[in-house]
Structures are given as C-alpha cells and as structure tokens.
Amino acid sequence: MKIGYFYFLSLFFYLAANRLIADDGMQILQAQCSSCHAITKPTDNSLERLWTRKGPDLYYAGLKFQKKWLVKWLQQPTIIRPAGEFYFKHIKKTPNGDEIDSSSLSPHPKLSPNEAESVANALMSLKPEGLIIPGKFKNEPVNPSIGAMFFGKLRGCSACHATKEGGGGLSGPELYDAGDRLQGDFIYSFIEDPQKFEPHIWMPKLELAEADLQRLSSYLLSLHRSQQKEGK
C-alpha cells in the first residue's frame, strides 16, 4: 500500500514538473519564437502569407519532431533549409546559375539547456487534430539501396532534397538526419499531402501508390546523422 502511494506521488510530481516546464517553454515560445514561427494554426492560408512568414510553421511541431533531436538542436542549431525560408528570398543570379545568397541568411538563436528542454516540451505539446492518422504508416524495413533509388531516380525527391552532402537539391529541407529529427507518421502524412500542413508550400503533392509512400517514409526514417559521419 505504502509503495503504491509512493509511486502515485512520484508520478504526480513528475507530471506536475513536466507541466511546469512546458508552461515555461510556452512562454518562451510566445515571447521569442512567435514573431517568426506560427505556434497556432494560421487563419490566413494565402500564398501571400507563405511569402511573408519568416520561419517554418510550428503549430504542429508535436506531430513532426522527435523531442531528443529538438532539445539538442535548440542548443546547437544547424542549417536544415540550405536556402532558408523561403528559398526565393535567399537566392541570387550568378554567371553559373542561381546560387544561395548566404549573406541574407540569419543564424537561428541558441537556447540554454534548460530553455531548450522547456521549449521542446512546449513544442511537443502542439498536436492539432486531423493532420495525421496514426497507424497509417507501417514502418516496415526497406532496403536502403531500394529506398535511395525511389527517392532519387524513380520518384524525383532528390530534385529538391538532399539525403547527403551534395546529394540533392537545395530548395527543400535537407534530410540527412530525417530519422533523428522527424516522426514516421509525420513523414508519411506530409509526403501524402504537404499542402494540408502548409497551404501553397512549394513541394508537389504527388499521387504516390501506397507502397511507394510506405517505402519512401521508411527510407527517410532510416536516415541518421551517425550514418553521415560514417560516410555511408
């Protein structure tokens, strides 16, 4: 009986502490992040808004990211979108074709470990209904070579996304560590209908066969930063 009481109290304090941390993170989100990122679903779904927003929408962050990655990235932000957000505003004409105008890109602010933990908790609580259907993505293993072939030659995703340095286009987010950063259900649902998450976004909505959708999602979820370091 006493042990049960102890466990109950521990759980209560753990949940209460998490709630407090998330509340704190939400305050940081609202004060420091909301001028660039939408943390509630935007009511303006126009193309104009896509052009004027400063950062990716985060109102569905809890469906999108993995918390462990968020905590780390918020302390040491790296470039995810090589051409920034949105790409058209950060490119320039050169004699060799268009190039990224690095001078127009601003680094993402860094957070302290405590802030990163709080903000990650707050972000993970942003889970609007209706964007993903849990369980649709089966997460069945895929042969990496087959996955890469579908991503590149067969479905053309590499036109805009890179899965390794120099291995694909620059207008979409890099996917080197998609398996560390993103959730499988999100990958599946976003590929299925990108505009459902972000109206007018410059990623095509392809009519992929279910098997292709499963295969591509599994492949992306299998990509990890550690593989990059090993040169795989």
């Binding site: 193309l47 790409y87 074709g97 067969l154 053309g156 036109a159 286009g169 207008s171 095509p204 392809l206």
Partner: protein, 139 residues
Amino acid sequence: MRGLDPIDFFTKQIQRSLLFVLVLLLPTSFIPPVARADDAKWTKIEKLYNTYCVQCHGIERNGTGINSKFMTVQPRDHTDPKEMGKIPDEEIIKAITYGGISVQKSILMPAWGKVLTQQEIYELKDYLRHVCNCGGESK
C-alpha cells in the same frame, strides 16, 4: 519701362506648367494600353512561377535554378524560343499538371496538378509563351 502685368505673369506661368506636365506625360501615352494591362496580368502568375518553378528553372527562367546543379537532366530553358516553340500548348499543360513523365520527359519535373488549379496552369502556359516569346507547334 512698363512693368509686367501680374495677371499676364501668372497666366504665362500656368501655361508653362501645363506644358511641362504634358511633356512629362508624353512618353506614357506611347505605351499601348494592352501592354500596360499585360504587365498587371503577369504579376499574379509571376508570383506562382517564382514560388514553384524558380527552384529548378531559375530566376532567369533559363533552367539554372539552385536545384539544377544536382540534376541528371537539366530543367527546361523557358527563354529558348526555338526549343519552347517546338512544344505544343497541350504538352506544356500536361507536363505541368501530370509531371515530366507524362510527356516522356524527366521524373524530376513533378506533377503540380494537385497544387495549382487548372486555371493557374493555363495561365502559366500563357506566361511561358510570354517568357519564350514564341508560339507552340500544333500537334
């Protein structure tokens, strides 16, 4: 010596001012009304082109977008009247709607038919004709 009549002076000043304004407005009167309407017409569709097409086809519309360096097949140069002129309107519409593969071209050109409306795709086709300054061969 007789002084200048103030009324005459102001009349002359007004005449000069009117003449100046007319001279300023003269060049714009030579721009055909259709051309001015055309510029406004392309503004909306240019925004669509800049959103979806520039990533591969480039700011100059000549196939040198930021993604093009990593592609095995280079994006179409939309400013090339010779090559663009060989493509019928229906093929341009089909390629934008269903992707390059639908017209026996590269998979790297995706299908935009689920993102853009049919009206927007038709307007993009017209815009491409404007960019290449060419008509298309009929099938």
